[in-house]
């Protein structure tokens, strides 16, 4: 039986982008386990690569957010991704020149707040199964299943901040 909840760790900026520039459509790369290290023995969850483990993604980003780590590889990769997405949306006519400049300006600014991680907790029952797509093996870092939900709506999931439970190291 599929797990009733799906998890996705993202920087807070992703929620800003979705609500302010994507008409409330959120994108989520999701996993059936919050912590794949603790997936039941024998389940496919144990085969999910550590780089796709929501707990690890969340905690690694949180520590770099706490440390204001200027050479953070994770934050650098997020910055590159958002710049690329902004170019794609601009070319596709989904955002205008001003909105493109706003996304680039936010990414280039020295804000740390936008990189604070948040956890999406998505009740599976609320999502039409047709909208949950399995990521092809060639795009996954491990054998374990990974999923994507496109055009996720805000009322379909909860956004949780776990930082209060995790002290800086």
């Amino acid at each position: 039986m599929p797990n009733p909840l799906l998890y996705s760790a993202n920087p807070w900026f992703a929620t800003e982008i979705a609500s302010k520039y994507r008409g409330g459509d959120y994108f989520a790369w999701v996993c059936e386990y919050f912590d794949t290290d603790h997936a039941p023995h024998g389940s496919a969850g144990t085969l999910i690569a550590p780089s796709s483990n929501p707990r690890k993604i969340y905690y690694d980003l949180l520590q770099e957010y706490y440390a204001q780590e200027e050479h953070s590889r994770i934050i650098r990769d997020h910055k590159r991704t958002f710049r690329r997405l902004a170019k794609k949306w601009l070319a596709d006519g989904e955002i205008n020149d001003d909105q493109f400049a706003e996304i680039v300006a936010s990414v280039n600014a020295i804000s740390w707040r936008i990189w604070k991680p948040v956890l999406y907790i998505i009740p599976r029952m609320a999502i039409d199964p047709g909208r949950i797509k399995e990521v092809p093996r060639s795009d996954r870092a491990g054998y374990g299943p990974e999923l994507q939900i496109i055009e996720l709506q805000r009322e379909e999931f909860d956004i949780v901040d776990l930082s209060g439970l995790v002290p800086p190291t």
């Binding site: 710049r83 690329r84 170019k87 070319a91 400049a101 795009d139 870092a141």
Partner: protein, 299 residues
Amino acid sequence: MIKALESLDRKTAAGLLARAALSVAYASTSPDDKLVRKIIEAARNRLGLSKEASDPESLERIAGLLDEESDKLLPEPNTTSALFRLAERGDLPSDLYEINIIHTVADVYRKHFPLEEDIIKTTIRAPTLEQHYGPARKPHEPVMVSLFLRSFRTRWPLKDFSVIVVAQRNGFKLDVHQAWRIYPSKVKLDGVRMPVDWLRRFANSYGYEIELGGKTGHLFLLTDAPIPNNVVLRQKAEPRRVEVTTITYLTQADPNTKQPEAAFVIAIDILKYQQTLDQFAVKRDDILERFVPPPQPKD
């Protein structure tokens, strides 16, 4: 430019290069789009990488080249005016504001203000909830005002509190006019959703009912006239109790008539509020949250 893109307009070409870079960055070996595959192949050739090279370093080099190419195709975005627009709308990441706490806020907290200053700045830089008003979209609404709310845990759960901050935006500056701690045991909070609801509940507990323009209430989001010198407070007579009241509000100009008006008018019984602070007596070491420093500019 990569040959496959020569016949396309610059924006479309930049978009395709960005798609290709995204595809490479996510190690997608077989992007659906034929043109995207061609672009990646051209980038590999230019870098002298074989088709099989899929180690992270090679993929990073390919994506980097694609980024450079797409940057060349698009005009440099005007990020300064973009940040200014974000600030005006209240969409600027809040840790980028220059925070100025006005003296009346400091007066409320007296010798405890240094701790409160850190709490206020942390609330702004990393809020749990935020709400922004203006620029004026419709009449009878506060403009350029931001509300920030954040909860703070302590070593003793009964002493946990939230802070509501009311600030006026002025470009990249944020002037803090009000900052109040809200202890759940003292303020009725059921059903609150937005920061303004928290402020209203706080005003119901610690504020006097005031009369302005023929209306009475604990919190006026906006008045259509400046605040008179003699605000009428409707309060029960408590003759043996010393009263210290602070009436705080933000001034703004009506977007149409340019007449001054006041926003977030509140009359707080300061002694009652200070008694609550003294009762809980939360010290710096009691707070479990980490105070958030300002982002350090790069050298």
